[in-house]
């Protein structure tokens, strides 16, 4: 089944490219089919509690390289989120983009390619599979963030996202390999607990990967920048799916690090600082989409905190939070996209009164927002309760730290949610609104209602979440989401959070009302530094390149000749000339003298054409030597090559002056020394190589085989086309690549390369 779904995705990418030639909408509709089918399959499997199955292709057996997928409960739950929300986002995008929008092929195909990579990522069950799909999501997300590729800030944002998440992928690979080495397996579900220094190192590497992908401080800088992407992309990648990849990784590998203190300490530090800093960011910003992005950073921090706690209760809370967050955050992004399209504004200072003009969007946003703030009767409320309960369930210092952090984070969440809802939809300046686009309203409303449905059908939701959480930690199987907990500590904290957050929001709103006109958008803290660091690296590499790749042909030749001369020094130690004879046939001496004479003439000729012709003469004399040794094949090829080279020279010389430029004396002596050294080196290397031939000449064996298996008497040709045909195949491909390279070099670029534009 899984292979069929992957094939459907692959075919969908091709079909989307084809349909994109017609229109953006056609491409999006075509692309929606694959995730819709997968979503239905995954939701069905989740509800029927399908048996986990393993799908495996062995790639290189000796290296343990396998593509391996496993459909356990957690993977299926994530698949349902990835593909379900994916299908809705495709529908939504048909409303977001106007029918005449360009770039349909590129957008739809990249988004579906991302969806496919994400699917592979959540289902992956081997180290290699996970790594490949992890990096694929980084690359496809780069394409999507950089969709509007003509703007400099979009280019920077896309590059930043790629560098940070892609770089994290390398840390992931290193960490997983360390872990796999100590466990003796590359299968994720078989990983054994790690210990010792290797365990600490692996924990830190994997946490780095988690932090880059799931936007933890200080790697979070890419996520707000990635809001430069079209809103369907933000809703899909940056709230529901890709940023969850890090959290998922942490969940999957968590059991292996149960005994590593560094895992818990660093994880808590990352999670708590991100939760608070993200919340503060959400309060500072005035762009509705950025508020949500920073809110996502904060929520991801909460998830990482819960996973770092690692108790059964915390894992259970994290899994339920994961589901709830995917639902409400995607909804909010979809609504903001609709607001953006229909009003042309995202700045909360310019928006207002939308509750009158956009009632459906407001309804969806309020439902999702309340769920995010953790207000009853919504799914977000029960999951927040679970999170507080999990924090209360810890002991000692861990309890104090986690309860304080989770409570503080929740207060800020309530505050920025209230501010967001009030400022965008509440009373304020009247914003003009264009007509409704159903394709945008429906997916958002659907996801928002899912939040209520989840609260009503809390039983099944609990079962599904518990099944997934139990796979990560066996102690999770006793917990459940509670609709009405009664007056417990957690409930009291929860209510206190709502009151405190509300009060904070009121304060902020009244303050910002007076400052509405002159407030400026805060600078993107940290993002500039990341860009500067990247630019610095690029500048260094450019300097190194311009030093190493000098661009002067004589310098290249001199460096190569000198290196070759140095390489022959070891041969001097046992140099004998006893085995040398003057010639095997007197004709060879004639040819040798001819070679020497023409080469010498070539060195003194001033005309370029003359030099080319003397080189050709040298080559033809070499042909003569081949013939005298009875190698007609070699001679023929050499002759033809020389012919072509001379014609090529003559052609190329048409662009140049007839004479060589005058040479200054120092450079002339450098040339003399270099060529003298090069010549001596070749002589020495040849003498010592012929002094001690090793093994036996393969001629007899080859000649026999040539007639027998190749059916030909020309050994050289049979070797090329039969015995070593695979080598020839490779060489031919190299030739083709060379031809492509020539074509690329010879064609003048119409504009400066991208690198220049981005720098």
């Amino acid at each position: 089944m899984l292979w069929i779904l992957f094939s459907v995705h692959g075919a969908g990418i091709g079909a989307a490219v084809a349909a994109g030639q017609r229109s953006m909408h056609a491409a999006l509709r075509t692309a929606a089919i694959a995730p819709a089918a997968t979503g239905v399959w995954a939701i069905w499997s989740v509800f029927t509690n399908a048996e986990p199955r393993v799908y495996e292709i062995t790639w290189v057996e000796a290296l343990d390289l396998v593509i391996r997928f496993r459909t356990d409960s957690l993977a299926l739950l994530m698949t349902a989120i990835v593909s379900g929300i994916g299908a809705l986002v495709f529908v939504y995008a048909t409303g977001y983009f106007s029918p005449g929008a360009t770039g349909g092929s590129r957008f739809a195909a990249s988004l579906l390619a991302f969806s496919t990579s994400m699917l592979g990522l959540v289902l992956a069950d081997s180290v290699w599979t996970l790594f490949i799909f992890w990096e694929l999501t980084s690359v496809t997300s780069f394409l999507l963030v950089g969709f509007n590729n003509t703007k400099v800030e979009v280019q920077n944002a896309a590059r930043r996202a790629l560098m940070i998440t892609g770089g994290g992928g390398l840390a992931l690979l290193a960490g997983l390999l360390l872990l796999g080495r100590s466990s003796g397996t590359t299968i994720l579900t078989d990983l054994q607990p790690a210990e010792g220094t290797a365990g600490i190192l692996a924990a830190l590497l994997i946490l780095t990967a988690v932090a880059t992908k799931s936007a933890q401080v200080p790697f979070h800088v890419w996520l707000p920048g990635a809001m430069a992407a079209p809103t369907p992309v933000s809703a899909y990648l940056h709230s529901a799916t890709m940023v969850k990849a890090g959290v998922l990784l942490m969940a999957v590998t968590g059991s292996a690090f149960a005994d590593v203190d560094a895992w818990k300490i660093v994880g808590l530090a990352l999670g708590i600082s991100t939760m608070l800093w993200g919340g503060i960011g959400a309060l500072r910003h005035v762009d509705a989409k950025l508020i949500l992005a920073w809110g996502t950073v904060s929520q991801l921090g909460l998830l990482v905190t819960l996973l770092a706690l690692g108790s059964g209760k915390a894992i259970f809370a994290a899994m339920s939070m994961l589901v709830a967050h995917a639902l409400f955050k995607a909804t909010l992004f979809l609504v903001v996209g609709e607001v953006d399209i229909r009003t042309g504004a995202r700045d909360i200072r310019e928006l207002g009164n939308l509750y009158k003009t956009m009632p459906f969007a407001t309804g969806a946003a309020v439902l999702a927002g309340l769920s995010m703030a953790g207000a009853p009767p919504l799914l977000g409320f029960t999951t927040k309760e679970a999170a507080i309960e999990a924090a209360l369930g810890m002991e000692g210092i861990e309890q104090v730290v986690s309860v304080v952090a989770v409570t503080l984070g929740a207060v800020i969440t309530v505050a920025y949610t209230t501010r967001f809802l009030w400022c965008v939809f509440g009373p304020g300046p009247h914003t003009l609104v264009t007509e409704r686009r159903l394709a945008m309203t429906i997916p958002a409303s659907f996801l928002a209602l899912a939040g209520i449905a989840g609260f009503i059908a809390l039983g099944p939701v609990t079962t599904i979440v518990r099944r997934a959480a139990t796979e990560l930690n066996e102690k999770s199987n006793v917990y459940e989401l509670i609709r009405w907990p009664g007056i417990t500590t957690a409930f009291l904290i929860s209510m206190g959070v709502l009151v405190a957050g509300g009060a904070m929001a009121v304060l902020l709103i009244t303050r910002s009302q007076s400052a509405r006109t002159n407030a400026t958008a805060p600078s993107p803290l940290g993002a500039n530094n990341a860009d500067q660091a990247l630019d610095g690296i690029l500048a260094v590499s450019r300097r190194v390149t311009s030093f190493v790749q000098h661009g002067s042909l004589p310098v290249y030749v001199a460096v190569m000749a000198l290196t070759a001369s140095v390489a022959t020094i070891p041969f001097f130690t046992d140099l004998t000339i006893d085995h040398l004879t003057w010639w095997d046939h007197p004709l060879q001496m004639v040819f040798a003298l001819a070679i020497a004479a023409t080469a010498l003439v070539g060195a003194f000729v001033n005309s370029r054409l003359g030099a080319a012709l003397t080189l050709g003469a040298v080559g033809i004399a070499v042909c003569g030597i081949f013939v005298s040794y009875g190698a007609p094949d070699l001679a023929l090829t050499q002759l033809l090559i020389e012919t072509i080279v001379v014609v090529g020279f003559v052609t190329g010389l048409g662009h140049l002056n007839r004479e060589f430029p005058k040479v200054v004396n120092t450079w002339r002596s450098v040339r003399l020394v270099v060529s003298g050294l090069g010549g001596c080196a070749v002589v020495v290397a040849l003498i010592s190589a012929t002094a001690s031939p090793s093994g036996t000449a393969p001629l007899e064996v080859l000649a026999g085989q040539a007639v027998e298996t190749g059916g030909g008497n020309n050994v050289v040709n049979v070797v090329l086309t039969d015995m070593r045909a695979l080598d020839t195949l490779g060489e031919v491909v190299v030739l083709a690549v060379v031809a492509l390279g020539i074509a690329a070099l010879a064609t003048q670029p119409e504009q400066a390369p991208d690198e220049e534009v981005m720098a």
Partner: protein
């Protein structure tokens, strides 16, 4: 460049082309038992094309098409034995009686060699284009004057 103004070179190359092509074809078929082969044949064809290009005679121009065809032929030949259960690149030898030629023995190495020839010819065409050989034979255009101004117009081959 040079030879466009030299009717002798032009005529000579035009007359020699068919002979050279026949030589190339001979090398292609002879390669299995005697000196020659796909690579040599490709070089002969390439030399013909190079000479015709610099004298402004008509030549094939589709380097990419030739290279693609060559690679497709090679890959097909390489993969065909897999279909009948043999190993990759396994050699099949066919021997038949043909009128006039008598007993002819050939094998799957022949299409393989043809593919190599196509790629080599394509590469040479690409090289010639890269060097701007085709433009040299044309009268200097205003756009390319700054490059052709340094051309040594009087040189002879």
């Amino acid at each position: 460049m040079i030879a466009t103004r030299s009717p002798i070179a032009r005529l000579g190359i035009r007359a020699a082309s068919p002979l050279a092509i026949m030589t190339g074809v001979y090398l292609l078929f002879a390669g299995h038992n005697q000196p020659g082969g796909g690579f040599s044949a490709g070089l002969v064809f390439g030399a013909v094309i190079a000479l015709r290009t610099v004298t402004g005679l008509q030549t094939p121009r589709h380097a990419n098409t030739l290279i693609s065809i060559g690679i497709i032929i090679i890959c097909t030949t390489a993969a065909a034995p897999l279909l009948v259960g043999n190993e990759l690149l396994d050699q099949q030898i066919i021997s038949t009686e043909l009128p006039l030629l008598g007993k002819v023995k050939t094998g799957s190495a022949l299409p393989f060699d043809v593919g190599v020839t196509a790629v080599v010819v394509g590469l040479i065409i690409a090289l010639l284009h890269g060097l701007g050989a085709a433009n040299l034979a044309k009268p200097a255009q205003p756009a390319s004057r700054h490059t052709s101004s340094t051309t040594d117009a009087g040189a002879e081959v």
